[in-house]
Symmetry: C2
Subunit: 364 residues, 2 copies
DNA sequence: ATGAAAGCGCTAACAG
DNA sequence: CTGTTAGCGCTTTCAT
């Protein structure tokens, strides 16, 4: 459009030196006389030069870019604040380590195809993939070209072809349920069998029930499995633990579950309703209130995620903070390690679990 | 890292032709014999070739990239769902027009500097800047290098050095206030003087009050100015219109405003509290309820933004939908027009206003 | 229809 | 300390 962007040649000519020297100066390499450096500096200012990132990338064979690919069907979690947390924290880490993060959104087939093309074309030095589907078409691509990539969002029950990051759904659900039932907090996540054993302990609640989100959503199966395990450890004699499989994360679904249990006459002060996320917990509490129960006076309810909903309801939710704001940070760190060829870089199949926090509030 | 990515030469060699021909084939140019094309296709599959985006960008002198730069202090609107709307809609438009959108987050001085370097280095063909500060350091850079860019977020009261996009705060505030006071809906935004004139008309409410957000936030001054204008048109004899300048967008601030007015004894059924956004409106309504008022029975309250808060409160808010989901779409379209050199591309100083919708619900 | 050759703007040995 | 010379992988005339 405009009259020829100035190049390194223009600088060299104006500074009366060779362009190799200018390149050395630009890259801070040794071997540029102070006087020459000064002339180069001046020339750069004069013609308002700045190096072409494309040319530099081609010559160095690296772009200094990390691409974060967000692959969510727009109806889904695109507007989930978690997504923004990942972007922001990955950006912070990349910046700190000297890389530039660029975020790509995969919304439809066309953009997916474009992104695949970029990836194949070596657009970035490394990739972070946030996807909810474990059969994402980028995964085989990463593997085939042995591209540096880290994935998150598919859960950790199935091994992925590249290193993964996830919240410690298992540990946190165990800790949460243990707290709700026993009132005990802290202690290791996966309790050893002796501390876990027995119904001899005095329990605050002896009738846990679970409202699960869609089981094909990330974390859902992990949470449910962990729930079942810890319950059978704490209540080895209890066998008819109610589990409601909600087809979605809507409040009305949780309400339906609660209503069904109420009609079966199962809700007593021994009951605790463990919900797979905060939204479901809110729905459960509101329905319990409608039915005349008190929370936690009659029934205890817990959430998961520590979303904004957790504090805007009364009683405020006892829940789990997944620390999504660490997710991107960790992912970016891992891919950079891989690019740098760090010996301790995570390997395909490995999943780094991010520690969670039990947030004890009023509801359980 | 791995044994040499295959290049166009490798394809040419395997297909028994020259790399120029392969290039032609790849770019869909005429002049490749069907049989040759077939051999090339086969060779590409055989060695799993895909062209280097960097090399291609260098040779073509364009990257086919549009960069969306989000410049928000992390405490601010980074987690605003609006931001995600812009990203998603800009992405959709870019994809549709054959470009790839990449989003860059400017969180601190380091990332800001990195981004400036990329921009100077011709990283993308065009830029979308979403910033809240009208002295963003990228603006002079865009101007100096006559780079294709479109800005949004700084309001439209001050001319910007590049084309801008914003919601039609003026028109929508006028329409909103007109509706709240008169019950009339529809009609043009900027009413002509004859339809606007006079207090002869029967008004539902004759005592509007305004709760403004921080005046340095985008849209805030536009909304306030429009409020003052339409009110003086509808109520030419009224001069002491209460305006509360909230230092933030918090519900408690709106509550404070309402409480102050209540103590002054000004709240009657003639009153309408116009709030600069939905959050403030929610705060106002909750405080009014606390003070024993009914909404809209006693006092009418309106919001702005049509956020999720608008429907989660009782009564649901009468508010304005800014259609943020069109913002990115329009911005991307504009920058692409500019890149293509379209004759009708927007010029620096111009602001494209996005039409808004009055959303009539229960609160006013 | 195809090949040869000259860039795109920069980095990186290698001499001197 | 500095200049020369090859590339990086691809596009694009210009001949043939």
């Amino acid at each position: 459009m405009t009259a020829h962007r100035p190049t390194i040649y223009d600088v060299a000519e104006r500074a009366g030196t060779s362009y190799a020297t200018v390149s050395r100066y630009l890259n801070g390499r040794a071997g540029v006389a102070p006087k020459t450096a000064e002339r180069i500096e001046q020339a750069i200012r004069d013609i308002d030069y700045s190096p072409s990132s494309t040319a530099r990338s081609l010559a160095q064979q690296r772009t200094q870019l990390i691409a974060l690919i967000i692959h969510v069907s727009s109806t889904d979690a695109a507007y989930d604040p978690n997504t923004m947390e990942i972007i922001a924290s990955a950006n912070a880490r990349a910046t700190r380590e000297g890389w530039q993060l660029v975020t790509l959104l995969s919304e439809n087939d066309t953009s997916r195809a474009n992104i695949e093309r970029l990836v194949s074309g070596g657009f970035a030095d490394g990739y972070l993939l946030y996807t909810l589907q474990d059969d994402d078409p980028l995964l085989p691509l990463f593997a085939r070209r042995s591209i540096h990539a880290v994935i998150s969002g598919t859960g950790y029950l199935h091994p992925m072809p590249c290193p993964a990051v996830d919240a410690d759904n298992t540990g946190s659900m165990r800790e949460l349920v243990r707290y709700v039932l026993t009132g005990e907090t802290g202690g290791g996540a996966h309790g050893t069998s002796d501390t876990a054993a027995g119904g001899s302990r005095r329990l605050r609640r002896t009738r846990p029930a679970y409202i699960s989100g869609p089981v094909n959503m990330p974390g859902a199966p992990e949470r449910l499995t962990a729930f079942n395990e810890i319950v059978s450890e704490l209540l080895p004699d209890e066998h008819d633990i109610p589990v409601y499989y909600s087809p979605d994360w809507r409040q009305t679904s949780a309400a339906a579950a609660v209503r069904a249990w109420h009609e079966d006459g199962v809700l007593t002060t021994r009951d605790a309703v463990i919900c797979a996320n905060d939204t479901l917990a809110v729905g459960a509490i509101e329905e319990l209130h409608r039915l005349g129960y008190e929370v936690p006076g009659d029934v205890a309810v817990s959430g998961f995620d520590n979303s904004s909903a957790a504090t805007s309801i009364t009683p405020q939710l006892t829940t789990v903070d997944q620390h999504m704001e660490r997710r991107g940070w960790v992912m970016a760190g891992m891919v950079i390690d891989a690019i740098r060829g760090a010996s301790d870089a995570a390997k395909p199949g490995e999943t780094v679990l991010i520690a969670t926090d039990l947030v004890v509030r009023a509801s359980a």
